[in-house]
Amino acid sequence: MIVALPLAAAGLALVGFILVCMVRLSIGPTAADRAVALDTINTLVVATMVLLGAAFNLVVLLDVALVYALLSYVGTLYIARYLEGGLG
């Protein structure tokens, strides 16, 4: 049940921006462009989760957002390492 409508609306808007970033994720000419788009999407997902967790009054979503923020950071570092050729 939605308890705070403005927060839910903002969360929905961020979902729209995630879709815009997915355009870059699919057309990006190089692998680095796609990685940047993915990094941006990760940040937006964290913000969306926090907003929707408040909007639906679900504290569990905020915990998931914390874990997602840290794990997506590790994922970004691995992709960056792969880009510079350090995983081979």
Binding site: A4, P6, L7, A10, A13, L14, F17, V20, C21, V23, R24, T30, A31, A32, D33, A35, V36, A37, D39, T40, T43, L44, V46, A47, V50, L51, G53, A54, N57, V59, L62, D63, A65, L66, A69, L70, Y73, T76, L77, I79, A80, R81, Y82, L83, E84, G85, G86
Partner: protein, 125 residues
């Protein structure tokens, strides 16, 4: 307090939108990192601050939990986002991607003198 929440939400949503547009519109990977990192970090900070204010206004154990966890998420974003984008920029440069219409590229001239890992073989042996 509701006005404060609305203001934070408006600022956060606007700058997140700007980050998404910058990602589409800028010409090469470094400028895209510029736009995407700065704008989405700033926008997400304000979105999360709105949630923290909402939790404080709500009060009680549930609101307090919400505010504390939102602020922790803010700290993590503020610490991890610039580091991750720096790693991506460095990876892109080492992968051989040239900056678009660069007037100067000192890193190319220096030829990547810095080793990939300093805490590598020399210190662990």
């Amino acid at each position: 307090m509701n006005g404060l929440i609305y203001a934070f939400l408006a600022i956060g949503t606007a700058f997140n939108a700007l980050g998404a547009v910058a990602l589409i519109r800028f010409p090469d990977v470094y400028t895209r990192i510029h736009g995407a990192t700065k704008c989405t970090t700033f926008g997400s900070i304000f979105s999360i601050l709105a949630v923290a204010v909402h939790g404080i206004v709500q009060g009680g154990a549930a609101g307090g939990t919400m505010a504390v966890r939102a602020l922790l998420a803010l700290v993590f974003l503020l610490l991890t986002n610039p580091t991750g984008s720096h790693a991506l920029a460095r990876g892109a440069h080492r992968a051989g991607i040239k900056p678009f219409r660069a007037v100067v590229d000192r890193l190319e001239e220096a030829g990547h003198r810095s080793p990939v890992t300093r805490h590598g073989s020399k210190e662990t042996q």
